[in-house]
Symmetry: C2
Subunit: 283 residues, 2 copies
């Protein structure tokens, strides 16, 4: 795995207050020295690495070690590949250690609260990898484009998000924010594919086209959201997503690096191993 990446994606894909989405090629594969087949091999090898790190992390959280968590935030236009990341990257991890939540349009109850209320309820527990398929960022994306909130409220939210995520990090959560960066042409092709294949019909919604017509507004909303909320504590990564194989292997590596940075170690026994061997033998 170490040999396939010339530079880790955490360095190359980081997006900050000066990000220019239009300047990032969605069909590029920055830092990955290989093609689709190499990526498939890297993904397969990474499954084991990720699974091993997660198990150590989980074990430690239960035995006096690191009680923090990792939160992967997935954002992107329709068909950008969020579901594929969940299935092919997160799917490698023991279900016991994953808390996945897909945020839909808010319910009436949720709308009656601040936009972060429903998000707080889904935060991952100790030793767990939380995955947000969409997130509080929808409230400054569709919220802005569709004017579901006033401009003042949208402004307030950028600050509220920065504060919220800082609080999470202070409490021991590693926050990994990923925007799957798709081109408009690739989206058209993926939507057409959904229409062409009966087993994909359920994934298509005529409303997706209405959002597609607002493509530029969404790109602008994404760019502003990223510029305003990418911090050293909770940085954004813009992952080129026209090539699914690249996006998957890149997000997998981001997750692996996030877990590895926590240096999870197998917890030491809190009992006398020799004594237990003797006790066990007598049963």
């Amino acid at each position: 795995m170490a040999t396939t990446w010339t530079t880790p994606p955490s360095e190359l894909l980081r997006a900050d207050s000066d990000v220019d989405l239009a300047a990032i090629d969605p069909s590029s594969s920055p830092g990955f020295a290989g093609d689709k087949q190499d990526a498939a091999r890297a993904l397969e090898a990474g499954r084991e690495t990720l699974g091993d790190l997660q198990e150590r992390f989980f074990a430690g959280s239960r035995h006096g070690g690191d009680t923090g968590s990792v939160l992967l935030v997935l954002q992107g236009m329709d068909t950008a590949g969020k579901g594929g990341i969940v299935r092919h990257v997160v799917g490698a991890v023991d279900p016991q250690g994953v808390a996945h939540h897909a945020f839909k349009a808010p319910t009436e109850e949720e709308l009656a609260h601040d936009f972060l209320w429903r998000v707080r309820r889904e935060l991952p527990g100790p030793g767990t990898i939380g995955v947000f398929d969409r997130s509080h960022y929808e409230d400054v994306l569709i919220g802005k484009v569709r004017r579901l909130a006033s401009p003042d409220e949208i402004e307030r939210r950028y600050g509220a998000i920065v504060d919220f995520e800082r609080e999470l990090v202070d409490q021991g959560t590693t926050v990994v924010k990923v925007m799957l960066h798709l081109s408009s042409d690739e989206q058209r092709s993926r939507l057409r594919d959904r229409l062409d294949r009966p087993e994909k019909h359920w994934k298509y919604n005529p409303g997706d086209l209405d959002e597609r017509l607002l493509w530029n507004d969404y790109q602008e909303a994404y760019q502003t959201a990223i510029r305003r909320t990418s911090t050293d504590e909770a940085p954004w990564y813009v992952v080129p997503a026209d090539r699914k194989w690249y996006a998957r292997v890149a997000v997998q590596r981001l997750l692996i690096d996030a877990l590895a940075a926590r240096r999870p170690v197998w917890p030491a026994a809190e009992y006398d191993v020799e004594l237990e061997r003797i006790r066990l033998a007598s049963t």
Copy 2:
């Protein structure tokens, strides 16, 4: 896959009001015409079948189809392999479609309610496979063996469980209850393995040995619980578990059969596919 099983495990492993645990060999592999390698192949093939069924089931639940769920209840003595089932069988399913919950010793808040209160809160949603790693059955297992409740209350619980599960089934849940049936010798060997391997130390708890000393009481409590709560609506399966490969492939097949019995089909488009193709082409 169809050729590896001579008889489906749903027929062979079903346990009812006359079950005699002592008569079931934990090292047997009923109905499976093959060895460990065949089982590995069957498990691999089954991953795809299970994933495909789950995706149809999930899709249907979102588009006017079956809004029921599947609940897999996993019970067994320590080291019986519940975690391995979660990882190797459930792990094949898209994390989006799985709701896993491990029940621990009840909290004070949970103890202040009826024993089913905390269970109701973790039931799977529409189109989802719920997995209970331990469950309400602990309240008639350790609850009985350790006398955490009065004999009258234990008696009451058998009936309450039958009523509760009937209610779930009436509401559209397929309930699959699995007891991983381990031998005492195999448990000793697995506990020793945990003591011998530092990366397994965290899975060992000196308290496990205290429970092991009550092996016969637990076997009796399991047998009574199964006899009293196995119904046509929510049957128990006793899965020989000394061979991990058998237990995994058997539970996988039970899950596949449970999903297949719901006959999930890809939902039909609720929009005019041709019209959408034209709309899309113009964007």
